[in-house]
Amino acid sequence: MALSNSYETPAPGFNFDNAARNAALEGLFDGGQTPKPLKTGTTIAGVVFKDGVVLGADTRATSSEVVADKMCAKIHFISPNIYCCGAGTAADTEKTTDLLSSNLTIFSLNSGRNPRVVMAVNILQDMLYRYHGQIGANLILGGVDCTGNHLYTVGPYGSVNKVPYLSMGSGDLAALGILEDGFKADLELSLAKELVRAAIHAGIMSDLGSGSNIDICVITKQGVDYIRPYQESQYKHSRKTKYKYPAGTTPILTEKVVPLKLEVVQETVQQMETA
């Protein structure tokens, strides 16, 4: 028997029911602005090097002019050998990568092997194309599989580009300048990490939507090194005072206790099947 307050598992996939509600809400605001979806003004970058792929991202999440999250994680886990950086609408990138990760986990359990990067790319492209740009996710996928080291980007409309280095997000033009200048084929690990760090740093310095710390994720055949944070922002503010007040700071003037009398109106007993 389904009780009215029991949890019903939601139907799989995306649910656009709230689109009608939002349209109705816009009318209520009397010309004012409906709350905007959280966009991660972002700088993300990726580079293919000799032994694998390096992904980098800043950690600032903005909601219009306010920094909503100073330490947001933009490099998402897809599978043990594939990670994904997300730019665009924060909720969309989160949910899309989660969905992708779940699907690929099922595949791994079924087949007993790590998924290939092309698989992840194809699934993403399929899904984003189906929604015709309504899902605002700009993703950089990087990973290592049996066919080599790969770096792909998937746009919100479902277009795919395979390239050895790239950057996305509002700070991408600044980061791309560093990458174009410093990229060479078959870089060593330390140089690749430094290149990505410099690229994200350029994005942070030149773009208002990017900032705070830099996260780096190195994926190789041997495994994954997720360094969070790789470099901390030099503009960290330290709080001068504590906001915890000791008990008794606010004096109590009077106290009144009123006991609530509750009557038992109805009693139902439901037997549990413990056999």
Binding site: G41, E65, Q125, P156, N161, V163, G169
Partner: protein
């Protein structure tokens, strides 16, 4: 007050503002494309290969919306695979072009991509088909994309039948170079694919190796 608006290209559709060309020569076809993918004013990919294989000896050139064109090419690639397994031999170029045309016509309102299909088969030799907006027509040569407007005069004047393989490749490269110089949405490197009965040859011509004309 600082206005922080996300850059337009983050939400704008990615288009392959493009120059694509395919021509028939004696014994095969040559396809060519530029490599620029733009989203608004930003170049998203400067080295994209817009010549997509549909089968071993059938290629298509992509233009218009990047997502739409890539998706059509993938779907037709799959359908051709099934078809060629069913008939037990290599598919005809006309079959590939028909499959592309069917999708372009059925979803005419929703899609904005134009594919030029070209290849070689045993029955008809080298063939080029245009599938703009859902029509299917065989032509001795076809140009497409935003850059094609600038070179219609050139191709109309310079094309003649019975060109050799080398002449055709040079013709395609010259056309691409002229278009890339005049069209803001075309640029990068040039990709050339030559298909004849012996096989398929892919070539890349880097920006500084493209032929130059009077003002360069």
């Amino acid at each position: 007050m600082l206005e922080e608006t996300a850059p337009e290209w983050l939400s704008e559709e990615v288009k392959t503002g493009t120059t694509i060309i395919a021509i028939e020569f004696n014994g095969g076809v040559v396809l060519g494309s530029d490599s620029r993918v733009s989203a608004g004013a930003s170049v998203v990919n400067r080295v994209m290969n817009k010549l997509s294989p549909l089968h071993d000896k059938i290629y298509c050139a992509l233009s218009g919306s990047a997502a739409d064109a890539q998706t059509i090419a993938e779907i037709v690639n799959y359908q051709l695979d099934v078809h060629s397994t069913e008939i037990g031999e290599d598919p005809q170029v006309r079959s590939a072009a028909t499959l592309v045309r069917n999708i372009s016509y059925k979803y005419k309102e929703e899609l904005s991509a134009h594919l030029i299909v070209a290849g070689w088969d045993r029955r008809g030799g080298g063939q080029v088909f245009a599938t703009l907006n859902g029509l299917l027509t065989r032509q001795p040569f076809a140009v497409g994309g935003s850059g094609s407007l600038y070179v219609y005069g050139f191709v109309d004047a310079e094309y003649h039948r019975g060109m050799s393989r080398k002449e055709s490749q040079q013709f395609v490269v010259n056309t691409l170079s002229l278009a890339m110089n005049r069209d803001g949405s075309s640029g990068g490197v040039a990709y050339i694919v030559t298909i004849d009965e012996h096989g398929t040859e892919e070539k890349v011509i880097l920006g500084n190796q493209l032929p130059t004309f009077f003002d360069q």
